[in-house]
Amino acid sequence: MIGRRGILASLLGGMAAGCTKVAQSGPGGRLLAAVEDWNRTVQRALSKRTALAREFTRADISASFRGNGTRDPGTPAYQAHVASGFADWRLAIEGLVDRPLSLSLEQLRAMPQRTQITRHDCVEGWSAIGEWTGVPLAHLLGLGGLRDDARYIVFHCADRLSGTPYYESVDLIDAFHPQTIVAHRLNGAPLPVQNGAPLRMRIERQLGYKQAKYVERIEAVATLAQIAGGKGGYWEDRLGYEWYAGI
């Protein structure tokens, strides 16, 4: 019996080792990297630019909303913000914009708002439904005067993972999507710390790791090459997750 299990294990082990070899080879690695491009190209071709993610009713809202990744940035600076109720928190709009901005939460709350009850899908497989309220990113980019050479919007965050501040990015299709908002409320209350207080992104047609939390700076750039490892996001640079996380 050990023999049979051993044969199966070594068969599968050989297969897994083969896969690793293919992944590490030049053409194999390029093939795996190309998958993300196929997914993006085909999913975008099949979707209208403004096709909305499903919006649910209040009855569908999850009893509690799981906090994943960083559940509390915990730095002294962040703790001071928590103590003051984020009164001094500023959101910077910078990079390739004509009018760089520095906005307080009060200013953000006075802007046009969007409220949406949507499903958050973690790359791990779980989902949670919550009601988000925030300012459409398109409105902020309009206020800042996005320049023609901008191609990507980068979110810089206050939480640190292994010493590195978290960052994520999207292209302009997702940046200007009607459901892409800088959220400051969850289920009718200010964002809890574990869900990204005081500001987090909602990019509803992509997976959870794109929904940057604790957002401090929104930067418009022409290319992602200069952002940390160049792949556009913390998990993308760190572990090879796809930058386009539509599936």
Binding site: L12, K48, R119, S127, A128, L239, Y241, I247
Partner: protein, 228 residues
């Protein structure tokens, strides 16, 4: 007729493409399952108390890659999904135009209890030979119809339902399965049902001249060889 191979070229190409694609999909899928080994029903779910099934953790030797990596497993899974999905699409579109078409049609007699009972009797006597002129015996026919028209398409549709982007493009997918977490559960259950099919299929090949079966799935074989 006698000159036609037992397996058409399309069948053979699709078969071997699936051997590679489904192997990659299944074992990378076990790695992905390890990222959150709980299944829920409905739209959402993340808490153990909401789960209808706690899935065991699959050991590293069973997974692709051979260590826990959600990022790499996803790349293999989504890579293999393309040939799997398009292979199925081509096969199903081409099927009505091939002579295999009749193999998957249930005749009036096939639906009778007597015919089913008779075929179970043959199986119990380890007689797997299809009736003269037919590709499958009756149980095989039911099984292959289930795999081809239910199991395989279900894998693709439930898989697409897991995609937040596809939910935007095709919202009816969410309604078809009653929610993303229901679709995820069906994706998992159907994958194991197909695994069961592959085990049965391999046992049947082993029981009926594996070398000849293997050779014919490569070369095509002769349709009437058994009669010659």
């Amino acid at each position: 007729m006698a000159d036609q191979p037992r397996h058409s070229l399309l069948t053979r190409l699709w078969h071997w493409l699936n051997v590679v694609a489904i192997t990659l999909l299944f074992f990378s899928g076990l790695n992905i399952s390890n990222a959150h080994p709980r299944l829920y029903w409905g739209q959402a779910g993340f808490d153990p108390t909401e789960a209808w099934l706690m899935v065991p953790r699959f050991p590293a030797w069973m997974t692709i890659p051979g260590y826990y990596s959600l990022a790499e497993a996803r790349l293999w899974h989504l890579l293999a999904a393309w040939p799997f999905a398009f292979g199925l699409l081509v096969f199903l579109v081409a099927l009505p135009f091939t002579r295999h078409r009749g193999d998957f049609v249930l005749r009036r007699r096939d639906l009778t209890l007597g015919a089913i009972r008779e075929d179970i009797g043959h199986h119990l006597k380890l007689d797997f030979e299809p009736p003269a002129g037919a590709a499958f015996n009756l149980l095989q026919k039911y099984l292959y119809i289930g795999v081809l028209f239910v199991g395989l398409p279900l894998m693709i549709l439930t898989g697409l339902t897991l995609s937040p982007a596809m939910n935007g493009a095709f919202p009816w997918l969410i309604d078809l399965f009653g929610g993303r977490q229901s679709a995820r559960s069906l994706h998992f259950v159907t994958a194991w049902a197909l695994f069961g099919f592959v085990v049965l299929h391999l046992l049947a090949v082993l029981a009926s001249g594996p070398l000849r079966q293997l050779r014919e799935m490569i070369t095509g074989g002769r349709a009437m060889e058994a009669d010659a």
